[in-house]
């Protein structure tokens, strides 16, 4: 290794801004390894003030962000709106518009494709409706603080997923979304009734959703009951679910030895 004094003495030239860029530069023999170590260990959390506007801009430019990242990015942009510097505030407001605009455009495209499919088709765009519901749900999540807009988009999401299954049984894959929407709307009783209709006593997903809904209804005994049932189905559980189950009902049966209990 050349040592970190490299950064003080290196000639002006290509300076990658991301660890990925540094790695490529090292692979191409353009920079010493220190550059990657530096780039990958000196990463500042995106939401740490003072904000790193370059990093925020880089992230904002990506159109493939998941909802969690988008939510986090939006909360940072909201903070930027409150800054005294007009340009920074403007960047915050326009950044939020850009994030929301992506959803609105996707929703519009889905609606257009639904209109094209028409009601006469065999399955009138149920996959499209499900995707539409998901986009509405995420857009609602993006409006976490503005409760009336959030509720509006949640209702749209619910109407879309409902329309997708007007005649048929709700498939397991859409169940989570539907319960998520109902829980987000605060319609816990309706979510519970939906789960009761499904009656899949041995399905870990349904049981986990049951536990979630019971938790939101303040029915902690029921939560524990669901978790006890779940503890017998350890193989069907993921890491996160296993932790929840072990918290409420002790280590699931068949859990690997030495597994942490919480």
């Amino acid at each position: 290794m050349a040592g970190f004094d490299f950064f003080r003495s290196r000639p002006a030239g290509y300076a990658p801004r991301t660890p990925a860029g540094a790695l490529r530069a090292i692979g191409a023999g353009l920079l010493p390894t220190e550059h990657f170590v530096y780039a990958s260990t000196s990463v500042k959390p995106l939401d740490e003030e003072p904000f790193d506007l370059d990093s925020i801009e880089r992230l904002l430019a990506r159109g493939d962000l998941g909802i969690e990242t988008t939510q986090q990015l939006k909360s940072i942009l909201e903070k930027l709106i409150g800054t005294d510097d007009q340009e920074t505030a403007l960047f915050g407001a326009e950044g939020i518009n850009a994030l929301e605009g992506r959803y609105v455009n996707r929703i519009e495209a889905l609606k257009k494709s639904l209109a094209k499919a028409g009601p006469g088709t065999a399955a009138p765009g149920s996959a499209v409706l499900r995707e539409l519901a998901r986009q509405y749900f995420e857009l609602a999540a993006l409006h976490g603080r503005a409760s009336s807009i959030r509720a509006f988009y949640l209702h749209e999401a619910f109407a879309s997923v409902r329309a997708a299954h007007e005649k048929g049984r709700i498939p397991r894959s859409d169940l989570v979304l539907m319960v998520d929407i109902l829980v987000a709307l605060g319609l816990h009783d309706q979510a519970a009734r939906l789960l009761e209709q499904i009656r899949a006593e041995e399905d870990p997903l349904v049981l986990m959703l049951g536990a979630r809904v019971a938790f939101h209804r303040g029915q902690y005994v029921k939560v524990a009951g669901f978790c006890r049932k779940l503890s017998r189905l350890a193989r069907g559980l993921g890491e996160k679910e296993r932790r929840i189950v072990s918290f409420w009902a002790g280590a699931p049966e068949g859990a690997p030895e030495g597994e942490p209990n919480a």
């Binding site: 530069a25 191409a28 880089r58 850009a98």
Partner: protein
């Protein structure tokens, strides 16, 4: 002395695209019938439809299509290698964020010479491109860098190779490519170059580029740097630089504009047209927004504010006054939002309308935009006798006299609703404020005065004077 002939240099606006800047240009031309105007337009494609009736004092129009391949009819003066060395030195100055002296380069570049071919065929010029790739993009394919470089530079080469219409003054209505053409005209003809900026071109483009997912990192930097460099050149070579308000003038000074050359001439309005609006109180409390239904106006925040106010003031009515056809998806989303809030019976999207009808009965005007320069609707409302509450954007804080009761952060619907409630709850105080605002508009924002200033500038510049105005507020 005959009145001057002014060549207006326009990019992406008049007379092909409607909008604020285009309307301003049309009105300027019509207000100064004694001045002869020649339009030099920079267009993305040929044969666009002209959206305005050109006034009779428009005596010429040359349209330059930026993406068309040009054939050189002249050669550079002196050795090509020496020209490339000057260009290399220019880029070093740009890298140091300063505006270089490019007069030497222009002495070598005659009209009719387009550099795009030599820029890739001359070995020294090619070396510069390769070095640029090494400095900015060595780990990605050279082809990516090359095509980005080419698309960014070919437009500039097209502009620099063109002859410019003959005129006494060259007046660019933005920096960017129009500004570059203005610099070129200044250096090639020795005639004065006047720059008017409504917004800040390089800042607006930067915002667009940063949000565009399809522009890669190094391409982004290349485009942003280029627009910043164009602005720096404009600020160096313009004989007068006009902004609409002091905040933007400060930004121009930061980018190298000379304090004595940079002046503020705010936009004005036709005061009698709005002051003559007959105000008649209607039952209820009427809140209006004048603007296109597009995301930049943030109509959703207006709707959210409406919901909050409607819950508190059952008599409140809301008017969104402006075209709805520019972004149908956004309009549909807004309309659905109004319905979902169950305020559709109290909320109206008027579509395109004569705003004076509404200024006659609105109780307060709201502006929820996330971006504005100097919004004329505020001046119109003031002249008509309306109080205004707004987001803190562009020149709005100055227009609202930094009165925090009527200013909110962008997207803060609750704060905007509080401002509306304040207007509702304090009629006596608001009446006093309205009177004061009317006087301010009449004093500082009379359109007739704006045109008088431009005429004085044109005459001063054509006469070889310093433009007849000192730096600062004109």
């Amino acid at each position: 002395m005959p009145e001057p002939t002014v060549c207006l240099i326009l990019e992406g606006s008049y007379p092909y695209v409607t909008g604020g800047v285009s309307a301003w240009v049309q009105e300027l031309i019509m207000a100064l019938p004694e001045v002869r105007f020649i339009l030099y337009t920079l267009s993305p494609k040929r044969d666009q439809a002209i959206r305005y009736t050109l006034p009779p004092n428009v005596v010429g129009h040359k349209d330059l299509v930026l993406h068309e391949k040009q054939r050189s009819t002249a050669r550079p003066r002196g050795r090509m290698d020496a020209l490339v060395e000057d260009i290399r030195s220019m880029h070093s100055s740009f890298a140091a964020r300063s505006a270089p002296d490019i007069e030497g380069i222009f002495r070598r570049l005659p009209a009719g010479y387009f550099m795009s071919s030599d820029a890739v065929r001359n070995p020294k010029a090619w070396e510069m491109i390769v070095e640029g790739n090494q400095a900015h993009n060595p780990v990605y394919p050279f082809a990516d860098y090359f095509w980005s470089w080419k698309s960014a530079h070919d437009i500039a080469f097209t502009i620099l190779g063109q002859g410019i219409p003959e005129a006494d003054i060259y007046h660019a209505v933005s920096t960017g490519y129009a500004g570059l053409a203005g610099v070129m005209a200044r250096l090639r003809t020795g005639k004065p170059f006047l720059l008017t900026e409504h917004g800040l071109y390089h800042k607006e483009r930067e915002m667009e580029i940063k949000r565009a997912g399809f522009v890669k990192g190094y391409q982004r930097d290349m485009w942003i740097n280029m627009y910043n460099d164009f602005s720096r050149l404009c600020y160096r070579y313009a004989d007068r630089i006009i902004s609409l308000f002091e905040y933007n003038r400060r930004r121009q000074l930061e980018m190298g504009a000379d304090e004595d050359k940079a002046i503020v001439i705010p936009n004005g309005i036709d005061i009698p047209r709005f002051a003559s609006v007959k105000r008649v109180k209607r039952p209820g409390f009427h809140v209006g927004l004048v603007g296109r239904v597009v995301p930049i106006k943030d109509i959703k925040t207006f709707i959210l504010m409406a919901k909050i106010v409607a819950d508190a003031l059952p008599e409140a009515r809301f008017w969104c006054i402006g075209p709805t056809d520019e972004d149908p998806a956004y309009h549909e989303d807004c309309r659905a939002l109004v319905e979902s809030f169950q305020i559709a019976d109290r909320f109206t999207f008027t579509g395109k309308a004569d705003v004076r009808e509404f200024y006659g009965f609105l109780d307060v005007l709201l502006l929820t935009s996330v971006r504005e320069a100097q919004p004329l609707v505020i001046l119109e409302a003031f002249a008509a006798g309306l109080p205004v509450a707004s987001t803190r954007v562009g020149n709005v804080p100055e227009l609202l006299d930094y009165d925090e009761r009527f200013l909110s952060a962008s997207k803060d619907s609750e704060s905007l609703a509080r401002s509306v409630r304040y207007v509702h709850d304090h009629p006596g105080e608001i009446a006093e404020l309205v009177k004061k605002n009317r006087e301010t508009v009449a004093r500082f924002y009379d359109k007739a005065e704006v045109y008088r200033k431009y005429l004085a500038l044109y005459r001063g510049l054509a006469g070889g004077l310093a433009g007849g105005l000192a730096g600062g507020r004109a």
